[in-house]
Each structure stands twice: as structure tokens, then as C-alpha cells.
């Protein structure tokens, strides 16, 4: 079963910083909750694992990530990931196109469009969880991403968009190392999300 | 990792002790360790009721009960219904009313009906159809199972009187 997601997240950093960070696959993967890159096969291919957790439910996937179509002009790239879960009875693949767009006040937005496809037991029994899982992956990924780029921005030039006229980009939530339904973080995310638009097509 | 536990409970009135992993399901303990193969496995997702046993006065699906949860419990299976060579009214009723065909769901069905009649000695057809809905049968279409339970209810109440 397939689900499409299109989401946009505001970043409190300049487009250049955002784009620089986006091209660093290890760093980006580091923002992926529950993800670990275990091996760098070559420039564009990595092996790794992703652990997806939702309440009592937990699945662990091992597979490959491939980076494609890095386009400096549009500041976009494509991340293809696929793998099978530790029991071999489920499989998942994701095709994500990520882009850094300009935003007001010299800041930028992270724009993500992805298609997640599930096979096997995960599709048969996990279907109803998919939207919630994907939502939370997105939110926490964006949250972590925002935290990283903000830090990078600060370390390079001091906080972005300082001074009047700057959009009030809410400070991103604490980074979550593993994807889970975190009762704690959820509320935070909801606040942080306020004012963002998020569209989902099943 | 998982250390084994010794679990003691009463099975059809007899004391039993088993040493099991925490994850062992009661249905497997009964069938594999204690040679009680009356309760059957049908769906493993607690929908079919073929594995139904009576646990401390409750009908439960033993595929969804951990053996370690049964410490000091009283377990009754189909094998425990016949008393000193005399069939339980339900066992008789299922034969008299042709309440079984392949026989696979029968032990769970009878064990469930046993508890139902303890709680409601004189159930209507509607009661029976509602309170027996945790046990699937593919052969009989349930109609004769309802009759069998009613047969037993009558026999038991007349025995009371």
C-alpha cells in the first residue's frame, strides 16, 4: 500500500545553510528519527537501519539509501530508501524529494514530497498506523532538521532573521533520537506545527 | 534472556506444575506439555474460540493467555467435563441435537457453553446466539448448537428440580 505526503516546514536559517545541510546525507539521515547509517557504499549509496515505533508497535528495517538528482539550481535532491524488516515479513520503500525554498526574512523552508510504500505484514496489519507513523516521522525529522540548521546558522553567523520584520519561526522541539509516539514531544510538536500547513493525500 | 518460570495450577481438578518461558501460550502448554489436546488452535488472533478453556470461572481464549498468568489458577478443559464416566449434559446435547460435524470447534464450543449455563441457566435462543458469538463453527450453521445448549439447559434444570 502506498501513501503520499507533501509537507512544508519553516527553517530558522538561510537558504544557503539549509541547502548545505540538506546535501550532507549522513547529517540528514541523523535527523531521521530511529535511523542509523551503518555503511557508506559509495558517494551516493549508504546502508542503514530505521526503527519505527508507535506505542507498543515496533518495526526495524534494514536497507539502502540512495541520493539522486542533486540539483543546485532548485536546491533539491531525491532520497530513495528501501528495506525489509528484521523478520523478513515486511518491506518498505520511500521516495522523497526534498527542496529548500526561500522564505520571508531571508529564511527558508524545507519542502518534502514523498511516497511511502509498504509490503507484506506491515501492509496487511499496519495500514491503519501508516498515516500516524508517517506524520510523526515527518514532524520529528523536520524538528531535528530545524534544530540542526538553526545551530549551524548560529555557529556561522549568529541567529538568523534577528531584528524587526523577522518571522517568528517557533523554536524547534528537542531532537528525538528514535521515532516513537512520545506523549511528551507530541504536544510540543502540535504547538510548533501551529501556523504550518500540512497536506496529506492517501 | 528470558528466564523460565515454574507455574503451578489446577487442571481439571488436578495439580500440575510446568516450567515455561514467559512467552509460552496456555494453549501450547495444555496441548504440548500436558497432553490435553481437546482445546484446538484455529486462528491465533483470538477470533475463533477453538482454544476456549475455563480459567478461574471465566471463558478465555487460551491462545491469548500466557501460561505464566495462570499461577494458582483453576483451568477446566473439555477433558474435565465428563464426571465418573458420565457425560455432561452439554456433551449429550451436542450429540442428541447434531450440534457438531467435523468436531474441531466442539471442545471450545462446549467449554464456552458450560460457563454460559453457569451464568444463565435458562438462556433464550437470542441469548445463546449472542453469548456464544466468541466461537466460530464452519460446519453446523449454529442452529443445532443452539438446540444442543437448550437441550442441556433443560436437562440441567430438571435435574436441579
Amino acid at each position: 500500500m502506498k501513501v503520499h505526503f507533501d509537507k512544508t516546514f519553516p527553517m530558522s536559517c538561510s537558504p544557503a545553510i539549509g541547502w548545505e545541510f540538506l546535501q550532507n546525507v549522513e547529517a540528514v539521515a541523523g535527523c531521521m528519527p530511529g535511523a542509523k547509517l551503518t555503511e557508506r557504499v559509495d558517494e551516493s549509496h549508504h546502508k542503514g537501519t530505521v526503527t519505527v515505533k508507535l506505542g507498543p508497535a515496533m518495526m526495524s528495517f534494514r536497507g539502502e539509501v540512495e541520493v539522486q538528482d542533486i540539483d543546485q539550481a532548485t536546491r533539491s535532491l531525491r532520497l530513495m530508501g528501501k528495506g525489509t524488516d528484521s523478520t523478513g515479513s515486511s518491506a518498505a520503500s520511500m521516495d522523497l524529494v526534498a527542496r529548500i525554498d526561500d522564505a520571508e526574512g531571508g529564511l527558508c523552508e524545507l519542502v518534502g514530497a514523498s511516497e511511502v510504500s509498504m509490503s507484506g505484514k506491515a501492509a496487511a496489519f499496519g495500514g491503519r498506523m501508516m498515516n500516524s507513523v508517517a506524520d510523526q516521522i515527518m514532524l520529528q525529522f523536520a524538528g531535528n532538521f530545524a534544530a540542526e540548521v538553526a545551530a549551524l546558522q548560529a555557529q556561522r553567523f549568529g541567529p538568523a532573521g534577528a531584528g524587526e520584520g523577522a518571522p517568528s519561526a517557533a523554536s524547534p522541539p528537542p531532537r528525538a533520537s528514535e521515532l516513537n509516539a512520545l506523549a511528551l514531544a507530541w504536544a510540543v510538536f502540535k504547538d510548533w506545527l501551529r501556523g504550518l500547513f500540512s497536506k496529506k493525500k492517501a | 534472556m528470558a528466564n523460565k518460570h515454574t507455574v503451578s495450577f489446577k487442571l481439571n481438578g488436578n495439580d500440575v506444575d510446568v516450567v515455561v518461558e514467559p512467552r509460552e501460550l496456555l494453549i501450547h502448554t495444555l496441548r504440548e506439555r500436558l497432553a490435553h489436546t481437546g482445546p484446538h488452535i484455529g486462528c491465533e488472533t483470538s477470533h475463533c474460540g477453538a482454544c476456549t478453556v475455563d480459567l478461574d470461572g471465566a471463558s478465555v481464549k487460551s491462545c491469548t493467555v500466557l501460561t505464566v498468568q495462570c499461577q494458582d489458577a483453576e483451568v477446566l478443559t473439555i477433558e474435565g467435563l465428563e464426571q465418573d464416566g458420565e457425560l455432561h449434559a452439554l456433551q449429550e446435547g451436542f450429540t442428541q441435537e447434531h450440534g457438531l460435524q467435523c468436531g474441531y470447534c466442539t471442545p471450545g464450543m462446549i467449554t464456552r457453553a458450560y460457563r454460559l449455563l453457569q451464568e444463565n441457566p435458562n438462556p433464550s435462543e437470542e441469548d445463546i446466539r449472542y453469548w456464544m458469538a466468541g466461537n466460530l463453527c464452519r460446519c453446523t450453521g449454529y442452529q443445532n448448537i443452539v438446540k444442543a445448549v437448550q437441550y442441556a439447559a433443560e436437562k440441567m434444570s430438571s435435574a436441579q428440580a
Binding site: P56, M58, F125, G126 | S46, H47, V60, L66, G134
Partner: protein
Amino acid sequence: MIPRQFDYHAPQTLPEAIALLQKYGDAAKLLAGGHSLLPMMKIRFAAPEHLVDLGKLAELRGIREEGNELRIGAMTTENDLIWSTLVQEKCPLLVEAALLIGDPQVRYKGTLGGDISHGDPANDHPAIMLALGASFVLQGSGGERVVNADGFFHGLYSTELKPDEVLTEIRIPVPPAGTGWCYAKLKRKTGDFATAAAAVLLSMKGDTVEEVSIALTNAGATALKAREAEDSLRGKKFDDAAIADAARLAMSICDPAEDQRGNVEYKTAMSGEMTQRALRTARERAK
């Protein structure tokens, strides 16, 4: 269909249970009736390293009336609720819901607290609790706190419970005498989750709605309180138009997940239809 290995703990007291949760944190899961968790573990969607069985905590099972509240232990089973004359008399909505849960065997094992704590919007009690305005007693290392059902459910499998907290008691304000009630549930078969379901409490003053409470099951990531639908009815004459309006407003907050029970359109429409059914039945029962 066999769970992964885990360690089993059967605490004899609540503090023991909480201590275990503290010790093992996220690696531990509470075992109540087991009919949500064990099937997930058998298909290996869940693999907790530690199971903490609340089954031996007698203090968590029981129903009593205190002041104007029903106080129900979290480990009280569905059949306990169904057969309790106190609940039948004071809160028939709870009995009606329990009778529509699972199947007979499941109702012997399934507990009120387990059904709520699991945080599954497809479970029936979350909506019932929202409709009743219940509150939950949570006990953990930080001591005890009492939270409202409204706000307790954060998302699919996600609740206000901290990893080291246990839901110990459910407190239900007894609805005023004469309150009408109904839990209307559409399901494919015995043992199934709701395609859609609506819980309603309704008190009337003559032909007009005095107070109304509406909550929906399985219509989104959590059970939903249909506030606008409630507002639209309060103080209004209870007629077909008002019911239809309320149903439309209830549908407007639905965001169900498509599955074998139906697509988003059907499930949303059924949430509306169950709302109508529940309102009509509650009206008949209101005095």
C-alpha cells in the same frame, strides 16, 4: 504467531509495578487483559523486553460510588461492568458500550483501563469516557495525578500516560437522573472494531435540548468530542433538522483512516449516521 521472548513480572502491589516501569522504562509494557497487546506481540509488531502483569493487583479491580462519581478500578473487566447493578443503574451507557466490545471471551479478560490506556481510537471506551466527562487517576514515580479524559488521548497509541505511570482508576460523574443515553456502533461482525460509532448523553427540558454530549469512535487519530455538534443542539428544539445539523457538524471533524471497513467517505458518513442513531435513541430514553 508466537511472541518474541520477554521477561515477565507479576508485581503484587502498585508501587512494585511502578518501580518496574521506572526500572525498565520504554522496554516495559503493562499487561492488563492482553487482548490488544498479545495479538500485536504474536504477529511480532510489538516486542517489549519486559511485561508487567497487573493481573495480581486486586486493588485495581472493582466498582464503587463515591459522592456523585462512579469510581472504577482500571483492571475491572467488561463483564464486571455489564453485570454490575450499580453501573446498570447509574451509567447504562457504559453497559451498552461494553456489550458491544469484542466477544464474550474477550469481555471476560478485557479491562476498562487497558482499553483506555492503549490509546487506540478504534477502542470503544475512549469515546465513552469523553462523552461521560470522565477523569483518570494516573499513578507513577511522581505520585498521583488526576487528568480529564478530554485531553488524555494524543494520537494513535499515544496518551498522556508517562512511561512510568499506571492508569489506576476511572472516575465517572453520574449523569443526572433522566439523562438519555446511547452508544450506536456499526461493525462488520462480532469482535470487530467499529466502522464508526457515536456515544451520546442527552438531557431534555420539554422539547428542547438542555445538555448534550457527543463523542466518536474510530473517526480519527483519537476518539473525538464533537463539540460544535453539541453546541448546535444545546437549547435547540430537538427535531430532525437539528439532528441532521448535529450529524453534519460531527462529520466535519472526522478524519478516519481507510481500511477494509470502508473508505474515508463511508466512515465519515457512518459517523454522522451513528450520531443520528444515538441522538434519536437517547431522546427516547431521556425523561
